[in-house]
Symmetry: C2
């Protein structure tokens, strides 16, 4: 198929569904079609590789683009047009990808929703903060979208929308040009309809050669319900157990992992560190446009301003101790198998849901991979999450697991 | 004195000297005077504290300002006007500081000079990359200027210009709005004519209450010539020894510290990590405006693109091992006393000098403080550097040492 026909297919789907789904902050039809035609006619201008030749990509509107508006989900930045592309956008372009537009983000990638609906049920949130990226991919508008995660902003919307989501090991992808929210946590991620697309796009974003995925015969999984299991719906825990049995039946090694007591503080410490960093990063908006921030953002900044340097230092020391303790808790080649969200996407658009099943992993800097795992009682997607690294191992295990779940009719969007 | 008269004094000095020194990329006379008059008339708009009431500050032109151009020392960004102030600029404003203008940076805070001259000898470099900040403070144009350091970009120009320079512990000040060069190293710093001004401005930038500086009676110093002493001028090593004797005579405890062998690799590893990160951060400029980058920047990016992920990982692991080894090498409350540069400012404007005496400390994330220490054989400033933390200890030792050096007629600009 030609690049132009693929872009036209994306645009047709957007035309049909965007009014209901609301996944896009901006779509540049003409530029995307022009680029597609140029690629079809052999134009190699600016290409470093053709690894993503003609791939249509949505870019979360928290990531700067020089040729499209970038509004960060906030009226403060209406009409904002950055001078430069984010580094990850440039890497996509240089590999032949076509940036179709900007996907809706919550306000500054925090919690205030941007109006996007879950394509599986328009009455439900798609999750956030990467709301538009998850909804656009889940609805078939684009195969791939860039996301970000500071708490659970890639994994949770991927889970709620029944697609794959990947948050890399901290700092694996260049972050230049992503609007800072909490810089020690902010991580650019990828949402896609297939594990392969995530692996391909990730190689480009990391500046690495795409490695053949080596899938082990008997991957190892440490089944972990986290210290926050009480916040999960019963069906979610049951689905996690069913997934574990499915992977075990397929040859995986699964054993239980209970995190030591200090890990149970990580969710609270995430809030301390993030609030502190957000208050710092948002100094300009706080001082010049406070009345145009959402109440949730304003109160989070106020909380951050009241956090003492000692509290931040103690929190970081606690996190580092957990980081040091973690390797001894995992066997060689073992990944954590855990929840990706508390349950199905909640009804309503006022909240993007609970991030508690992602914050601890983000805080530890670990790579995370959301896998769809069938439907829940309300007919909406459920999912699980693999956590750990290195990336080659994670992608191999994700690929192996996705195939096994699909065979067990758990991994397919019905 | 009124704020207005202080600003007028700054502007008068700039009028008299700027044509020769070339410290400024932009000066906003009218806005600075208007803000000074407003402060004089009791206007508290936007103030969080009056800690820096009326203080004139220059801001390195690698740091974003919404009300002044920000050109990053590159023709690629001619006329660039960011949408927002950097977080540190907002913090200065909220404490009552008056941003007088933008100081000259080398191209993207790397090595290509911006034409600034050393106020002590116009034929010599002021150092870089914070060339304008150091020259403006040394020439009496402003008492304080923001700088940045990725290798030696705050400490070296402070040394060459005979003033005080401070590079905080990594990430102590919010970095949002600083143009990324190598994000794991980029650090906003402060250049000033007095230790007290650095302490005061630092408290504001860190969001902490200004603490009374507790000066110990017998501060401890680990005299360290670094593994790179062979690159220093003999007079610089002699001056370092003289400073050590002076501090010892004044009651300080001084002992020799030779860094273990692994530390001698840190300069080379700094180049590996920085080249890798710079190639990532500069993706937009590399892809869209390569011909407008200096040859030195272009070749550094090419080097960075050729660095393997394995080499970066190995470098980071080596650095972390050195970080872990360091505390055991230092006594309680002890700081490293070392060179701040290879010698006096070199003649000529084509290079900003050798950063080898700063890169290792930047790579270790340590706080650094440059102290003037008299003049060299060509009549230009020489200096020394204190390294380590925590910040309260560093400031106390810097204050104590500066006083002792001044009494010994080593610390004064003649």
């Amino acid at each position: 198929m030609s690049c132009e026909s693929l872009i036209r297919a994306s645009l047709t789907r957007i035309d049909a569904r965007e009014r209901e789904v609301g996944a896009w902050a901006y779509v540049d039809r003409d530029a995307a079609l022009a680029r597609a035609r140029a690629l079809d006619s052999g134009d190699q201008t600016g290409l470093r590789s053709g690894l993503l030749h003609g791939l249509a990509v949505g870019v979360k509107d928290i990531i700067d683009t020089a040729d499209m508006p970038t509004e960060y989900g906030s009226p403060i930045y209406a009409g904002n047009r950055p001078r430069q592309d984010a580094a990850c956008v440039q890497r996509l372009k240089a590999a032949g990808a076509i940036i179709l537009g900007k996907t809706v983000t919550t306000e500054f990638a925090f919690v205030q929703p941007g109006g996007t609906r879950n394509p599986h049920d328009l009455a439900c949130t798609p999750g956030g903060s990467s709301s538009g990226s998850a909804a656009a991919v889940a609805d078939g508008m684009v195969p791939v979208a860039l996301a970000t995660q500071t708490g659970g902003s890639t994994i949770r919307p991927a889970a709620f929308c029944g697609i794959f989501g990947y948050k890399p090991t901290f700092d694996r992808f260049p972050g230049a040009g992503m609007k800072p929210l909490a810089p020690s946590l902010d991580t650019i991620g990828v949402i896609a309809a297939t594990v392969d697309d995530i692996a391909r796009v990730s190689a480009v974003l990391a500046g690495e050669s795409p490695a053949a995925v080596h899938v082990p015969d008997h991957p190892g999984f440490a089944l972990c319900r986290t210290p926050y299991a009480a916040q999960a719906e019963p069906q979610t825990l049951e689905r996690l157990a069913m997934v574990a049995r499915t992977l075990e039946d397929a040859g995986g090694h699964v054993r239980e992992l209970e995190l030591p007591a200090p890990f149970s503080e990580l969710n609270d410490l995430h809030r301390v560190i993030m609030a502190h960093e957000t208050a710092r990063a948002m100094a300009h908006e706080w001082r010049t446009a406070r009345q145009r921030l959402s109440p949730s953002m304003a109160s989070f900044i106020e909380r951050g301003l009241s956090v003492s340097a000692e509290a931040v230092a103690a929190a970081r020391a606690h996190v580092e101790a957990c980081m040091r303790a973690l390797p001894a808790l995992l066997g060689k080649g073992e990944l954590i198998l855990t929840l990706s969200a508390a349950g199905e996407a909640p009804v309503g658009l006022a909240s993007t849901g609970n991030a508690v099943f992602s914050r601890l992993w983000t805080l530890l800097g670990l790579a995370c991979f959301a896998l769809p795992a069938g439907r829940g009682m309300r007919g909406l997607p459920l999912g699980v999450q693999l956590v750990g690294g290195p990336e080659a191992l994670l992608f191999a295990a994700a690929s192996w697991s996705a195939r096994r779940l699909h065979e067990a009719t758990l991994g397919e969007r019905a």
